[in-house]
Amino acid sequence: MSRYILKRLGLTVITLVIVSFVVFGASQLLPGDVGRTILGPYASQQQVDELDHTLGTDKPLPVRYWNWASDFVRGDWGVSPVQNVEVRPLVLHRLRNSLILGAFAMVLIVPFSIFMGVMAALNYGKTLDRVISITGLSFIALPEFVVGVILIVIFAVQLGWFPTSSQVPGSDPVDWFRQLLLPAIPMMFVLFGYIARMARAGTVDALQANYTRTAILKGLPRRYVVWRHVVRNAMLPTITVVSVQVGYLVGGLVVVETLFAYPGIGQLTLESANGHDLQTLEACVLMIAIIYCVANFIADLAYGILNPRVRVA
């Protein structure tokens, strides 16, 4: 098991290093000179050169990458030249807000989706299966902003049950639902589609497996066969899907936070991209990748615990 963990950890680190290449590389594509962007068109060339020198943007690419990466690891994320604030507290604060929204959506939808997926598989080919499958299939396809605007028009504008733009909720649980439910639903739609589908497929496979036949021919009660023999094996592929969906979720956050004006990391990413705020943009994207990798690592651990074949390896 420890070997398995180490291997997973190593792969995670490699992934993050490649992500940092991508992020750094993409930011180098930005047109124009950094100093010029900050100082504006009326500054003299000498001023621009000086600023470039202090910022280190005149150094060769590998050196700049190294400086940038080691600063990031050390926790020195710099100052946003556009907003003129420290990047680290800004990004971490926004990240916290996003995690609240994302966790809210996940907690509500993951168990439900898995349950519905298993139910669909148990009723394979029957009406319930068709309803769940087609619903999931349609939900996957709906862009968050499409669902979002429809929800806003109906529940915020017409009915007035929810605010049209959401704030970070306080401690009151009613407030949680009031602020977060509407922005969470578009993401929950997509998540439901993926997770229920995978849980269904995993369950169908497990139901057809020889060991399930063995269990039935042992005369075990159906309910016991399903929960003890089928579901545990069916969860293995589902776990992987849930963890990959964490990555999706962040993409969804960009859209949903923009639509609902929710102060999360997704909105910050878009703002800093539009405002050419490189420092903030890079930090945001890296944090998003780190969150994804952590989620995947946890999923790998869960997989290892559920699957004895991995545990010994």
Partner: protein, 684 residues
């Protein structure tokens, strides 16, 4: 539990007719099948794939696929109507009064639950025990199926056990509640010969302890002959012959049973003297409408009457019935094949392939696995070299090294004077052309998207260097004729051909460039026995006509003995016994060869050889034992020397040698009697 002990366990199947629904059509798989299993009796059901034997087994467990329809008939189980039982009753019977063990124990056990818990479930649900009691009962049961270290095995997950152990666990689970009926559906298929023998021994043993009725379903006539008192032969969903096992196999009265017995090579049959007798034609397709006898179109004594009306089961002798109008003529049916008459091209004294110190290792996440651990062998021009060994012995890796599908770790391969220690793509074209391979699974070996014609054309182009459509077509016709494919078979894709025809295409392909050597890796093990006979005949004919050499790999010793001139026996990546076929098969030979031979089931009921039990499990190829690799399981182990010193080659005459510390004279003496059973002193 039982009210009338005489009656329990008796199973009566009467007029069972089952169909599968496919789209709107009903395809008949079983027609009017009736038989009875007496209490404590083992009833064998034999037939080729697609004859409906698994459907019978599953009907007995009331576990048919959802698209199956029982059209008529009844199954009475210990006086109860099985087909009328509701779910609840069924649940209380399954795993309690009736139990099943089937093929492929690796997938039959739940991979995420410990073995002990899986056995204990039976006690918890059928005996109302609590967890602790159930675990204790499970431990007791596991020792009943001859697993030595019961407590430890119970805590294992299925994948941590060997195939034989897994199947023992399945038996422990099935017999936990001392059921009245045990259904065994090909319980040893896919297991290695020695493991198969162990499992069969276990079943015989258990039959003495438990008074269970058994339905034994198998395609292997030898196993059924050994295990069962009575036997039924299924063909195209009909029971065509039934009787006591000894009588049916000694004096078959249905032409199909007779043909089935004749087409299997028996130990002792040789290609020089005996020709195999294949059954012409193929099984009628599922749901075919046949007004007369289902076997009529393949039967050598069929007449008009057979095509017009279906025969009933005629009594032949006491308890022996056959579904044939002319059952009295059956014993006089001459063999269809003429004796082998073609003069064999003699084995030349010229070495064709020289293998020196061949080593092939794989690395799996740090651990090194030795697939082939230093093999030296010489194969002569025109010689058929049979290679036997159990799974994991390295025989397939050996073959792949020779043809260049995997690269050699070290060692030298020289073929017709060319160095062929490289991958196929890097060898000279001549070496590729002259050294070809026929694969195990013809479904896999032919590209499903290309027509037979384009598959053969490409081979002619690359291997024979034939260009131009007309010349290619000409040569293709020739090639097709040599493997007895018809022109109309050329313009279809492989999916439209039967397994036997596919294998003919694969053989034709490998012969396109007039090879000097063809490696045949289990070329018939994916085929039914009747087809196997035809393919073996074809391979023998081609070999003789073209003077080609074969390396013939098979797990079936009788098949290898039939085709091979010389034989090599592999164990854990090493050749342990090599020489002329007849000498390898006779004493003195390596104790492992001895064990393999004793494991062959035979349908000569009278003949019974002592079976040699191998102790322990096959060691992992990543951790080959020191000294003699076989010492951990060898029943003739001498002592310390086997553990510490690699054994020398012992020369048994000029044409046979084996690797053992026991010299030939001594070994001959020893092998006159069966070895003593070895105490389980080996830690697995």
């Amino acid at each position: 539990m039982s009210v009338a002990p005489v009656q329990t366990g008796a199973v009566e199947i009467d007029g069972l007719t089952v169909s599968y629904r496919r789209r709107s059509a009903l395809l008949r798989v079983l027609t009017d099948v009736s038989f009875t299993i007496k209490p404590g009796e083992a009833y064998g059901l034999v037939g080729e794939s697609g004859c409906g034997k698994t459907t019978v087994a599953m009907s007995l467990m009331r576990y048919l696929p959802s698209n199956a329809v029982v059209e008529s008939g009844s199954i009475t189980f210990g006086g109860d109507d099985l087909l009328a039982a509701n779910d609840r009753t069924l649940r209380s019977w399954r795993g309690n009064r009736m139990a099943m063990v089937y093929q492929d124990p690796g997938t039959a056990l739940n991979p995420t639950i410990r073995v002990g818990a899986q056995i204990a479930e039976v006690y918890r649900f059928h005996r109302g025990m609590d967890k602790r009691e159930a675990t204790e009962a499970a431990a007791h049961m596991v020792s009943t199926v001859q697993i030595s270290d019961a407590a430890r095995v119970l805590r294992r997950y299925p994948h941590e056990l060997s195939g034989g152990q897994q199947q023992r666990v399945m038996f422990a689970m099935a017999l936990a509640t001392d059921p009245d009926l045990l259904v065994l559906d090909e319980p040893t298929t896919g297991l290695d010969a020695t493991v198969e023998a162990e499992v069969l021994d276990l079943v015989e043993n258990l039959r003495d302890q438990f008074n269970t009725s058994i339905l034994f379903v198998s395609h292997n006539l030898g196993i059924v002959a050994r295990m069962c008192e009575r036997v039924g032969v299924l063909y195209a969903g009909r029971l065509i012959e039934q009787g006591s096992a000894s009588e049916v196999f000694r004096d078959p009265r249905h032409p199909y049973t007779l043909a089935l017995l004749r087409c299997v090579p028996r130990l002792g049959m040789r290609k020089d003297t005996d020709r195999l007798d294949p059954i012409p034609g193929s099984l009628p397709p599922l749901g075919a409408d046949m007004p007369g006898c289902v076997f009529a179109d393949r039967c050598p004594i069929a007449r008009d009457r057979c095509v017009q009306s279906p025969p009933e089961l005629f009594p032949v002798a006491d308890g022996h019935t056959a579904r044939c109008f002319f059952h009295e003529e059956v014993p006089d049916i001459p063999p269809m094949a003429t004796a082998a008459q073609e003069d064999a091209a003699p084995v030349a004294d010229e070495v064709l392939l020289q293998v020196s110190e061949l080593v092939k290792t794989y690395k799996f996440s740090g651990t090194e696995v030795v697939a082939v651990g230093g093999v030296d062998v010489e194969i002569k021009r025109g010689e058929v070299f049979g290679l036997v060994g159990e799974s994991g012995s390295g025989k397939t890796s050996f073959a792949k090294c020779i043809v260049g599908l995997i690269d050699v770790t070290s060692g030298r391969l020289s073929f017709e004077g060319m160095d062929v220690s490289k991958l196929a793509g890097k060898r000279p074209g001549e070496a590729r052309r002259r050294l070809q391979m026929v694969f195990q699974n013809p479904d896999n070996a032919l590209n499903p998207t290309h027509s037979v014609r384009s598959i053969l054309r490409r081979s002619l182009q690359l291997l024979a260097g034939v260009h131009g459509r007309d010349t290619q077509d000409e040569q293709m016709a020739e090639l097709a004729r040599s493997v007895r494919l018809e022109q109309r078979h050329l313009d279809v894709r492989p999916a439209a051909l039967s397994g036997g025809l596919k294998q003919r295409v694969a053989i034709a392909r490998s012969f396109a460039g007039n090879p000097a050597m063809v490696l045949c890796d289990e070329p018939t093990s994916a085929l039914d026995v009747s087809v196997q006979a035809a393919i073996l005949n074809l391979l023998v004919d081609l070999q003789r006509r073209q003077g080609v050499s074969y390396v013939f790999i098979s797990h079936d010793l009788a098949v290898v003995r039939y085709v091979a001139d010389s034989i090599g026996v592999m164990y854990l990546g090493k050749l342990v016994d090599v020489g002329a076929a007849e000498q390898v098969f006779a004493s003195p030979h390596h104790p492992y060869t001895e064990a393999l031979l004793s494991a062959i089931p035979t349908f000569d009921v009278e003949e019974s050889r002592p079976r040699i039990k191998l102790s322990g499990v096959l060691p992992s190829a990543s951790d080959v034992p020191t000294g003699c690799p076989f010492h951990t399981r060898c029943p003739r182990v001498l002592g310390e020397i086997c553990r510490t010193e690699a054994p020398p080659w012992q020369e048994d005459g000029a044409r046979h040698r084996y690797r053992c510390h026991i010299p030939p004279a001594e070994l001959t003496e020893l092998q006159k009697t069966a070895p003593p059973e070895r105490a389980e002193d080996v830690v697995a």
